[in-house]
């Protein structure tokens, strides 16, 4: 039914419009046989539309969708069903059909007209029920089992359909965490045992990273990222596509990346004087120098971020007590590239940057270097240092950087009150409500 080189699913320049709304825009995608692909993206990004196009439920305005080398809409409905199975987000059966019969529905496309299910079909259905751990419940009605069991029964139905491609549309969104893991583990095992290609739309990025070979990210109908979970998932991606600030960690057991979402990225400025929300304001400090400014900002209603700071720094404790996002380095070590990257993300989200009068040495000099990169883009406030106290332990490089900041438009403020007044005067950093 297909050449050995044909991918399980291929979309070429697929565009789908619903009235004015672009659901998919020039999407190209090739899913090789045997792959477990997680399709993700915010609500309304086109995940479900892509799956529906692959199932032949809708005809794209332009472009082509192929299942194993054949244009999907040129296949008969039954032939489509023999090539691709579907596990919907939710199904609302109205009759209390025994699970075995429910699973047998999956044999429809393999039966002749008026042909009843044979013993072979029933065996296949029982095997599928066993594969999803429901063999004991074959005679129970579909309305009397739990949500997780229902999804597994639907998965079993997709299995007896014997389609080499299975599409899952948010199959776990109505399940608790244990059942989510259970269902996806089964899907992955079955896909490996039977060499079935899986495309699963998943909201949960951590589940996607953990179970898939490849993640494709859709945003506003376009494919914006594509690759192995470790390549694709980043704090930058989350900020850009979902508008969420998050920490990227690595699961020590599985090695899969996982994301710890924190808060929403404030909307980008669209013009002077636009209301932008309360910050965040990033404070660069250290050795307790940043604490008064962090507190003042927080009390005034701004969200704050801080860093990069070394572990055990008292500023870090203050920042964490205020619920601030931070970039943290191990004690006494120079700031690593990884932490620097994190600092950049925090600075990117910041509406203003405050440089506290912190002692600068070679290890934390990168803080000032990074701040320099934001000159002219966000307001930068330098807190005036007390005279006669030595603070540049980086051989004059820190002093030179501060002077460069001041020349480049950073403002000097005398203390916390002046800092707040300066922020309030900024058109892009409105007063907290």
């Amino acid at each position: 039914m297909s050449g050995p080189t044909d991918p399980a699913l291929r979309l070429r320049q697929v565009t789908v419009r619903f009235g004015e709304r672009m659901a998919l825009q020039d999407v190209n995608l090739e899913v090789p046989k045997g792959q477990f692909l997680a399709l993700t993206g915010p609500n309304g990004s086109g995940k479900t539309t892509l799956l529906r196009a692959a199932l032949g439920f809708l005809a794209p305005q332009s472009g082509s969708v192929e299942l194993f080398g054949s244009e999907v809409l040129s296949l008969s409905v039954a032939e489509r069903a023999r090539r691709v199975a579907w596990v919907p987000q939710e199904e609302n059966p109205r009759e209390n059909v025994p699970l075995l019969d429910y699973v047998l529905y999956g044999r429809y496309a393999h039966l002749e007209w008026l042909q009843g299910e044979t013993a072979r079909d029933r065996e296949a259905a029982l095997r599928a029920l066993r594969a999803v751990g429901l063999e004991e419940r074959a005679e129970d009605g579909i309305l009397s089992v739990s949500g997780g069991e229902k999804q597994r029964a639907i998965l079993a139905r997709a299995l007896v359909q014997e389609a080499p491609l299975v599409l899952l549309d948010e199959p776990t969104s109505h399940l608790d965490i244990a059942h989510q893991l259970d269902l996806l583990t089964r899907v992955r095992e079955l896909s490996r045992e039977r060499n079935v290609t899986v495309v699963a739309a998943l909201h949960d990025l951590n589940l996607a990273a953990r179970f898939s070979d490849r993640i494709v990210v859709l945003s506003r109908g376009r494919r914006v990222a594509d690759g192995a979970p470790t390549e694709v998932l980043s704090e930058e991606l989350l900020a850009r596509v979902w508008g969420v600030v998050a920490d990227l960690r690595r699961d020590p057991r599985t090695g899969a990346p996982y994301l710890l979402p924190h808060h929403l990225v404030p909307p980008a400025p669209s013009g002077p004087g636009t209301f932008l929300g309360k910050g965040p304001v990033h404070v660069v400090g250290g050795g307790g120098s940043g604490a008064p400014y962090l507190r003042a900002l927080s009390e005034a209603g701004y969200r704050v971020t801080a860093g990069a700071l070394h572990l055990l720094d008292s500023d870090l404790e203050t920042a964490e007590n205020l619920g601030a996002l931070t970039a943290v380095e191990v004690p006494f070590a120079p700031i690593s590239d990884e932490v620097r990257e994190r600092l950049r993300n925090l600075l990117q989200a910041a509406k203003a940057i405050v440089v506290a009068p912190f002692p600068v040495g070679p290890s934390n000099l990168p803080n000032l270097e990074e701040v320099r990169g934001w000159l002219g883009r966000v307001p930068i406030l330098l807190v005036r240092r007390p005279s006669g106290v030595e603070w540049d332990f980086a051989g004059g490089r820190a002093r030179a950087l501060e002077e460069e900041l001041l020349r480049g438009g950073a403002r000097q403020v005398a203390g916390a009150a002046e800092m707040l007044a300066a922020l309030a005067a900024e058109p892009s950093v409105p007063l907290p409500q």
């Binding site: 439920f57 409905v77 489509r80 069903a81 109205r94 009759e95 209390n96 429809y108 089992v145």
Partner: protein
């Protein structure tokens, strides 16, 4: 997985499949058909009736003198045979066939619209069919070919109504409520047009009650044959769609993902159900609620598999209408009241029951 939610103790039992119920229903119906000719508008002794039946069925081999010992009217034994065989049995067969047609149509419509309240009468398909037939009678179109034109116009009326409903169901307001309200509105409207047509008919007085209340009388074997032929063919075709209807209950998208061409199948089923309904009402007028009640009775006793519900609804519908005829003759001896009165007596409370039960649970979704 041990923590999975246990099914509540009072959860509904899985609806199994009990095909043998069909055999039982068929046997009941056979017995009913055999003994129903005993009842009629004129009194004939039961034993005479049975003798006449066996005499006719055996082609005259049994009971060569079926009327022996009976009080024979002026027309002699032939007159009695005519009463029992031609009048009563044709009327009974019509009840059986019309009931079967309405039953299987109702079962189909409930499946197509995924709505337990769907029924050819409530959706206005019966009214549309009856109106089509009445047009032929009132305007005396092709008087010679009425046996052909009557069902044809009934089909046009019924199918036209069916498509209006299909469009309503497909629109984005196609909820269960919209569907039923559209049907009720259509039904009332078409009945009103029908009444007007009959009251001011150019041919003078035609019995309004005959058409609006359903009637089994005054038909002959030819008309029986037409209804029988159409209902048999369309009904048999419908009964082959049990599996597709089972899958459609999961929603048109899921059904399509499993290999059912949902759109095509639904249109085809609506068409066939309309044809069946049209044949059923072309000669008898509007008979309500048979299509609503019968499938539910079958589901109760034989399970919800449409491969059984459809033939079962035909058998129950046939039995229902036959019972209505017999009961009407028992309750009001000597006259055959319009049969629709009796079906509505039984059907309307049942409809109300379904409505209220539906509010309690929530097993219904949009079509």
């Amino acid at each position: 997985m041990g923590a999975s939610v246990a099914a509540p103790a009072d959860s509904p039992r899985a609806s199994g499949r009990r095909p043998w119920v069909l055999v039982l229903l068929l046997a009941f119906l056979g017995v009913g058909v055999f003994f129903s000719p005993i009842l009629g508008t004129v009194s004939v002794a039961p034993d005479t009736v049975l003798r006449i039946l066996l005499h006719q069925v055996s082609g005259g081999a049994l009971f060569s003198h079926p009327c022996a010992g009976a009080s024979v009217p002026a027309s002699g034994c032939a007159g009695l045979i005519e009463i029992v065989w031609d009048a009563r049995l044709s009327e009974i067969m019509l009840a059986v066939v019309v009931g079967a047609g309405l039953g299987i149509s109702g079962g189909t419509l409930q499946g197509v619209f995924r709505n337990p309240l769907a029924d050819p009468f409530l959706l206005g398909i019966s009214s549309g069919g009856t109106l089509g037939a009445a047009v032929v009678v009132v305007f005396r179109i092709g008087v010679a070919d009425q046996n052909l034109l009557l069902p044809l116009f009934a089909f046009i009326g019924a199918i036209g109504t069916g498509f209006v409903i299909l469009v309503a169901a497909r629109s984005r307001f196609g909820s269960v409520e919209t569907l039923l309200l559209t049907g009720v509105a259509l039904s009332s409207f078409l009945s009103a047009v029908l009444s007007l047509l009959l009251l001011y008919s150019p041919t003078g007085s035609l019995q309004v009650d005959f058409w609006l209340l359903g009637n089994l009388g005054s038909l002959d074997w030819t008309q029986d044959g037409i209804v029988f032929g159409v209902v048999l063919v369309a009904g048999t075709l419908l009964a082959t769609y049990g599996r597709e209807l089972n899958l459609l209950q999961l929603g048109p998208d899921v059904a399509q993902s499993l290999g059912v061409d949902s759109r095509k199948v639904r249109v085809r089923l609506l068409l066939l159900a309309s044809v069946t309904t049209a044949a059923a009402v072309a000669f008898t007028g509007i008979i309500g609620f048979v299509g609503l009640v019968s499938p539910h009775v079958v589901r109760r006793i034989a399970g919800s598999d449409y491969r059984i519900v459809l033939p079962g609804a035909a058998l129950v519908g046939a039995g229902f209408l036959l019972a209505a005829r017999d009961l009407s003759l028992v309750a009001f001896p000597g006259t055959l009241l319009p049969i629709g009165i009796f079906t509505s007596f039984a059907g309307a409370p049942f409809f109300a029951y379904l409505l209220f039960r539906r509010r309690g649970t929530s097993t219904m979704g949009s079509p």
